[in-house]
């Protein structure tokens, strides 16, 4: 498939290819994840600075196989400047996309969310602002992958949770009441349900009502998203989360 017209793109990761080339994983709105070989990337000094993540680019490529050949690359804006822990958060986004995003699939909405998230991270946000954009991006990715968690009725008029009920999140089914879970669960299908966790009704009602605006709701959303992402990742490790944890631990010990 040759894409001779320029497409918006961000670089997710680069890996060396032979002496002067790179294999680059791009994120494009119309094609999802695109992997391409840039044969002379490291010898063509003038364009070296383009092969960096967090810089808006325009690219075109050709090739029939999954690994394309990059034809052109140019900058379409300024690189987002990410310092300190924010850099690790941005790398986390890239790793999620790298490991979960399907190849050659329309991802316009998710690309917009990525752009918003990266730009917010580049503006030195407060911790709560950072958490809000990260959780929003995770939710958008989960939705994009077909696992959106419902919080309201289908017409969005009512919250589906009761304040006096506990719920269990099953990644492949969403939330079910604790009673339903216990009544239908044999030991075998509890095992098959994989990772699940008990959530209290008031916490879910609060999240449904106030979104990510409260510290408590952000914590609940973080746990929900983590369960979903771990389920979607399967046995693929999430390196950036591990490194982020180390860095955070270091800062807190100082």
């Amino acid at each position: 498939m040759a894409v001779n017209f320029l497409n918006p793109a961000f670089i997710l990761r680069t890996q060396k290819y032979r002496e002067t080339g790179l294999i680059v994983d791009f994120f494009c709105p119309n094609y999802g994840k695109v992997s391409a070989v840039a044969k002379k990337a490291l010898s063509f000094k003038g364009y070296l600075s383009l092969y960096q993540p967090f810089m808006p680019l325009s690219i075109s490529w050709q090739g029939q196989s999954e690994l394309k050949q990059l034809i052109s690359i140019e900058s379409s804006g300024n690189s987002v400047h990410l310092k300190g822990l924010i850099f690790y958060s941005a790398c986390y986004l890239n790793e999620l996309l790298l490991k979960l995003l399907p190849v050659a699939e329309n991802s316009i909405e998710l690309f917009g969310q990525y752009l918003l998230t990266i730009n917010t991270l580049g503006q030195n946000p407060s911790r709560s602002e950072e958490e809000i954009v990260l959780r929003s991006f995770e939710s958008a990715l989960i939705k994009h992958l077909g696992y959106e968690i419902g919080f309201t009725t289908t017409d969005h008029s009512e919250c589906i949770f009761n304040i006096d009920t506990n719920y269990v999140l099953l990644p492949e089914r969403g939330f079910i009441t604790e009673d339903d879970f216990l009544s239908e669960s044999t030991f075998r299908n509890r095992q098959a349900g994989g990772q699940s966790l008990l959530f209290s009704g008031p916490h879910l009602v609060e999240l449904s009502k106030f979104g990510l605006q409260r510290e408590g709701t952000r914590k609940t959303a973080k746990i929900i998203n983590r369960i979903m992402i771990d389920y979607l990742l399967g046995d693929k490790p999430l390196n950036s989360r591990k490194i982020y944890g180390q860095m955070l631990g270091r800062l807190q010990n100082k």
Partner: protein, 198 residues
């Protein structure tokens, strides 16, 4: 396809960067047919290097000594420490002959996606060294990439509490370069880090 020993040699040569099956085959036949003496020398040198070369206990560069020649030298300024990503970066500085301090080699850069964190680069060792008080200036010479910048930023953070002066290699227009051929990112760096003209 070939005898086991030739196959083994071709496979072994493929360990070299940029060498695929064809190149490995060409190299193997060249060595066996035309340069057996060179092949023996190569094998002995490789074996000796792999067995004898380790990391300098001061700067982590590759050396067969416990402490490398640069770190041992009394002519070097031990109070200036240049942090680089690889031993080849040390060679580039030494060939240019523009730097008289000592080095610290990271053997990479921070790369969260690949799971490479501070401990993997020996940054805990660097921190201990900075706390000892002998180093007065640290020159950050990590690559001008997003990961290189993040690594430089991390080192500047650990140097903060030690009173060590932190400097970064200048970035911008290369010598002999024409503005017409510069990309926007490099030009932005150049204008943001402009200095008073003397």
């Amino acid at each position: 396809m070939y005898s086991p020993l030739i196959d083994q040699l071709i496979q072994a040569l493929k360990a070299l960067p940029g060498v695929g099956p064809k190149s490995a085959q060409r190299m193997a036949f060249y060595l066996l047919e035309h340069n057996q003496e060179g092949a023996v020398g190569l094998a002995q040198a490789l074996q000796a290097a792999v067995e004898g070369v380790g990391r300098c206990d001061h700067c982590q560069t590759l050396t067969e000594e416990t402490t490398c020649a640069i770190c041992q030298s009394t002519k070097r300024d031990q109070s200036t420490l240049c942090v680089v990503e690889s031993p080849s970066d040390v060679s580039i500085f030494e060939q240019a002959g523009v730097y008289s301090g000592v080095y610290f080699v990271l053997h990479g850069h921070l790369s969260p996606i690949d799971g490479i964190g501070p401990a993997d680069l020996g940054l805990d060792i660097l921190e201990t060294r900075l706390q000892q008080g002998l180093v007065k200036e640290i020159v950050l010479a990590t690559n001008s990439t997003v990961q290189g910048e993040a690594t430089a930023h991390y080192i500047s953070e650990i140097a903060k509490d030690t009173g060590v002066v932190v400097t970064r290699l200048a970035q911008g227009v290369p010598l002999g370069g024409e503005l017409e051929y510069l990309d926007g990112g490099t030009l932005a760096h150049a204008i943001n880090s402009r200095t008073r003209f003397q």
